[in-house]
Symmetry: C2
Subunit: 319 residues, 2 copies
């Protein structure tokens, strides 16, 4: 009998839903991501949860690894997933929480609330001058997947002009005024007042925000990254802020996480840091979304139907 | 010939617009708020600008004092304005800038970005747990004038349920789900996840947020004040934060401004402080709005027509 490993905190309600999905067709094992053992992983045909990649390497039974994350980069290197394993992510579960976090960061930066917060901590009543409104801003959303689109709708509701940047642009979706391919990035960077980046970690996206690209941006622009930390080198970003190439930035993701206590990023006043909390179960919509995707893919798997959210191991994107 | 005193920074374009409005019917004097002399004030029939109240007291010629502020409280005490002087404010010019500032503060608080900013300044990678979305929040807007309504539309666009509180409720405006009179404040305070207050300073509004009212609020609620500082005593607010009656607060206005450097408010981590910058010419829409109101009231005054934005000296509100 096939073994289904649910390596994710579940309550009675969720466990009952999994039991209904499985019927008597397979054996269900409930554990958590931290408690899952290598043996449980090796025996499972279907796993829901981001179990340690080293447990998976050489696993012969695994047919589906359903992650609870949107990023799949930890499972992409060769030698982890076998030929017959399909990798699925939880794209869709994060659009609301991460989109809103990036949106809150955007509002904070354009209203200079980060500077006022720093001044407050020095007991200092100081006026930082004029601010910007989204209603007169051009917002660039780099990576127009589910999260990018959720964010685009929020800034659009505030009156922004929205340009989406996508690897393979299709029809222009609602909430986006212009959709351009990645090759046009340099051109549209020059127009943007806000650059919000939400890209997976792939060979193409690594260090794509070069010093030259920050130089292209408006000096008044703000830069936000909620995708993966390696889209921008921390030295390049710090230098761009210190040389006034851009006005401010906010990061939720870093090359090394946790960000080391001695990183020079912490004390850069023009930079806002949140510790990778935009997603990661900080809003109930995330857990609910993961459950919905996990249950549906488990049902599809048992019925032999094509799965949702299958990641192409070559690109790190959904197919 | 009547003298019109424009006590506000103007450029050539604005001065030309005033000249067209006046024709040859009156003498125009351009100065700034800080440079206006008592003699200029005493000679003027119409003033645009927040000239010092003590210059106005006893002024016999003044028929219209057109403020560039929304608040008129500095000019309401007896002995400042004569019987024949009409007081007009600039309600309408601030709705966008102040509404957006209050909205940015709201997003900051509900996403806990104030806590992350403080942690950043300690080089500390710390997770503050779950956050709230406006989509599942009830937002109370206390004072549903022009600014309150602008703010209401923004939170509504994010999916919030909006309750407006107004001295004299009329038909429920767009962007507001429920409109209640001030007498119902206690009831609706208990339902709110966000309380945003934008009230003028009057006898009724002074210290209206009592300890008892903070006690009524949800422990998870956030409180924002962008109206006048005396709506809440600083000790009462500090105590409510320290005793967990509410989760967080943000103030742009204070009983004493600038907030004294030794105020205990500065170092309260759960409180966000901005130095009365939501309005005060920090966004071009404010200046443009003031010019529009000022020009129109000047034209109406010269034609003997009823004015816009006339403040009732008894209530501090527009009639």
């Amino acid at each position: 009998m096939k073994k289904i490993l649910i390596a994710l905190e579940t309550g009675e309600q969720e466990q009952a839903a999994f039991r209904r999905a499985v019927g008597g067709e397979a054996e269900l094992i409930f554990t958590t991501t931290g408690a899952a053992t290598q043996e449980q992983v090796r025996e499972a045909s279907f796993i829901l949860g981001n179990v340690p990649p080293r447990f998976i390497a050489g696993s012969e039974k695994l047919e589906v690894l359903q992650l609870f994350s949107a990023g799949a980069d930890a499972y992409l290197p060769k030698g982890i997933l076998g030929e017959k394993t399909q990798l699925c992510n939880a794209t869709g579960a994060y659009s609301r929480a991460v989109g809103e976090h990036a949106f809150a960061m955007t509002m904070m930066l354009i209203k200079k609330l980060h500077l006022y917060r720093s001044a407050q901590m020095r007991n200092s009543w100081v006026d930082y001058g004029t601010i910007r409104s989204l209603g007169e801003s051009t917002v660039l959303v780099v990576g127009l997947g589910d999260i990018g689109l959720g964010y685009a709708r929020l800034v659009k509701a505030m009156g922004a002009r929205v340009i989406g940047v996508k690897r393979r642009p299709g029809p222009c979706p609602e909430g986006v005024d212009e959709l351009v391919p990645t090759e046009d990035l340099d051109r549209v960077l020059e127009e943007a007042d806000v650059i919000m980046s939400v890209l997976p970690s792939t060979e193409e996206t690594r260090y794509m925000y070069t010093a030259e690209r920050f130089h292209r941006m408006k000096n008044s622009a703000v830069f936000i990254n909620v995708g993966r930390g390696d889209a921008v080198s921390e030295e390049v970003l710090l230098s761009a802020l210190q040389h006034g190439e851009i006005a401010a930035a906010a990061l939720d993701v870093f090359e090394t996480e946790p960000l080391p206590a001695d990183s020079p990023l912490w004390q850069e006043e023009r930079l806002v840091i949140t510790p990778h909390v935009a997603g990661s179960f900080h809003h109930p919509s995330i857990y609910d979304g993961i459950m919905e995707i996990g249950l549906e893919n488990l049902r599809r798997y048992l019925r032999g139907e094509p799965l949702r959210n299958v990641v192409d191991p070559k690109t790190g994107y959904c197919r």
